[in-house]
Amino acid sequence: MYIYDAFDRRLLAERVVDFRDQVSRRLSGELSEEEFKPLRLMNGVYLQLHAYMLRIAIPYGTLSTLQLRKLAEIARKYDRGYGHFTTRQNIQFHWIKLAELPDAMAELAAVGMHGMQTSGNNVRNITTDQWAGVAPDEIEDPRIWAELIRQHVTLHPEFSFMPRKFKIAVGASHHDRAALRIHDMALRLHRNAAGEAGFEVMVGGGLGRTPYLAQTIKPLLPKRDVLSYVEAVLRTYNQFGRRDNIWKARIKILVHDLGAEAFAKEVEAEWQSIRDGALALEPAMVADIAGRFRYPNYATLDDGPPELAAARRGDRAFDVWLSNCVTNHKMLGYAIATLSLKPEGGTPGDCTAAQMDKLADLADRYSFGEVRVGHEQNLALPHVAQRDLPALWRELGAIGLARTNVNLVSDIISCPGLDYCSLANARSIPIAQEITRRFHDLDRQRNLGRLHINISGCINACGHHHVGHIGILGVEKNGEEFYQITLGGKADENATLGTLIGPAVPYAQVADVVEDIAAAYLDLRDKPNELFIDTVKRVGIEPFRERVYAAR
């Protein structure tokens, strides 16, 4: 993970002083709410239904145990003992008091954490694959580039008052685990046929009222040019993005209206005039940032140690956990363990302060002091020695983080919805909870296989319902909660938007509908290991539509 240097710490400290002054001027009335609101948003402070909400950035989903313990402390001291991990690798606290925020932010700043630009019309938290730096299939660690870009866009004088928010994701593998194509801009590190490494740059993705998938405007951008190109895209957007209509203000609308080619031309013209200026990245600059990324002192270990095989034979439950939650690591003898934050009947992505503290202890012992946060709202321990997996599993079980439902039907991605959020039309969490109860049987879940459900409580789509295998969108009809169901969405390198299957169904029927869809899949799949999403692609949504609406 990246270690802050004195410059980073100083900037953060000054930001806290600045915000403390702004809060004080707000409380005294010197600043009106209209003037204060963009300032608090720039620090990740929202107003929700019951209280303020603080959204803290977890850049590229990487947390040290020091930081995780601090989050637990913040939860206990300033909130109600828990936090919520989001679909953008951030954490949210839902019960914050404005008057206490400057103190909370000072405490976070002491461990290099902040809420800068987690809200507002600026560049938001830069996300990556949660396995960045340890995945076997990436060409290099994308987080170094995410950090370079993060610094570049932080308190950027030109891009702090853009038409709307701007979300960037960075990837470095062919298999896309960062949902690149639903971002305003995505950069994918890859090699061309000649073996040269560079970024494929995609722009114009985004969900919400008018969902679009990002389009490639630059197939191979040299690494040296990444900051100047990002600058050119942002400058084009800042000048020409619409400001007359909040629903048409994202860059996806601009790209769509101009056409990707014309947009790319506009960017290219600007980029050519700045690419060799102050933003050209010198190798020493990249090396400096890379040099502050700490990597574990991995031991030299063998793959498949005998303890592991013995444990698998000896304990079926461990074997199931291993198959479901543990994946290959780029280092021999190591593994990545995914920790499900989706307990039966629980709120997707929530984590108590007690769990955070205990997880920090485990991460210190088993994962070189590092934890990862994924956009699927699960956590991961990225550096576990394979021989430690049996012991780790037992300890995870004791704190409720060993559930074997990762990527299965009860591993639901959900926004907070109307229980918390002032933008929502309907609740999302109880829908998720009921689904997890219906499908509580893990054998049944395994039989269904990989099945991603995404739930959003309103069209802003924070639950990414458009790209769920099953997408559920809460709407309001005559004061009642109804839900639109989509099928066939995908968030990976074959990103697809889901298709609506029929009229919205009432709150009480949603879990039934999901059961009908699951039953239809079992009938329709041509073999047991045909994935749900592949069955949908093969047969289309019509057979599912028939089944769901036959009796409704």
Binding site: F7, R15, E30
Partner: protein
């Protein structure tokens, strides 16, 4: 609306001229964009400093050919949330190398001073008198910046790699801006 330049409240030497009215002789004036473009040849020959007020929804590149004749460009923030003029300002300073006075007008508030200065503005029609009085303090909030901009401040990336034996990152606590 107090005018702030060089960290202080100053008298405005410039007179804003409307679309129709006669332009006074030999005094500094700020002319609206449309009018300027229509009368450019005459205006640049006029005796007296010439400024142009440019709208934020029109490419600043259109003004580029005339910059050598202009003492001042005034850019607009209709609402402070509308940040188009930040791009225009940087283009003026960094791409078109405008060296005259660059004035921020409209909804100009204290919490944007840092960004405005970094973007290259050096003249500010500040909306609230209290903000104008606090300009010097508010403008100096950050001793570290992450990105190069029109103000020429050295960004952290550059400072890190050029730190000499006598200046280390930790010495910034006592370093002056």
């Amino acid at each position: 609306m107090p005018l702030v330049e060089n960290g202080q409240i100053v008298q405005d030497r410039y007179t804003y001229v409307g679309d129709e009215e006669p332009i006074p002789e030999r005094v500094p004036v700020i002319v609206p964009a449309q009018r300027f473009l229509a009368e450019a040849d005459a205006l640049i020959r006029r005796d007296g400093s010439l400024g142009v007020g440019w709208p934020n929804d029109r490419r600043i590149g259109e003004l580029a050919p005339w910059l050598g004749h202009l003492a001042l460009v005034a850019l607009k923030f209709p609402k402070f949330r509308d940040g188009r003029a930040y791009s225009q300002a940087r283009l003026l300073r960094e791409t078109y190398r405008f060296r005259g006075t660059l004035r921020a007008t409209g909804d100009v508030l204290r919490d944007q001073f840092h960004f405005l200065i970094r973007a290259g503005f050096d003249s500010f029609e500040v909306k609230k008198p209290a903000d104008a009085h606090a300009f010097a303090e508010a403008a100096n909030r950050y001793s570290v910046v992450y990105q190069p901009s029109a103000d020429g401040r050295t960004p952290a990336l550059r400072r890190r790699v050029t730190a000499t034996a006598t200046e280390s990152a930790d010495a910034i606590d006592t370093a002056k801006r």
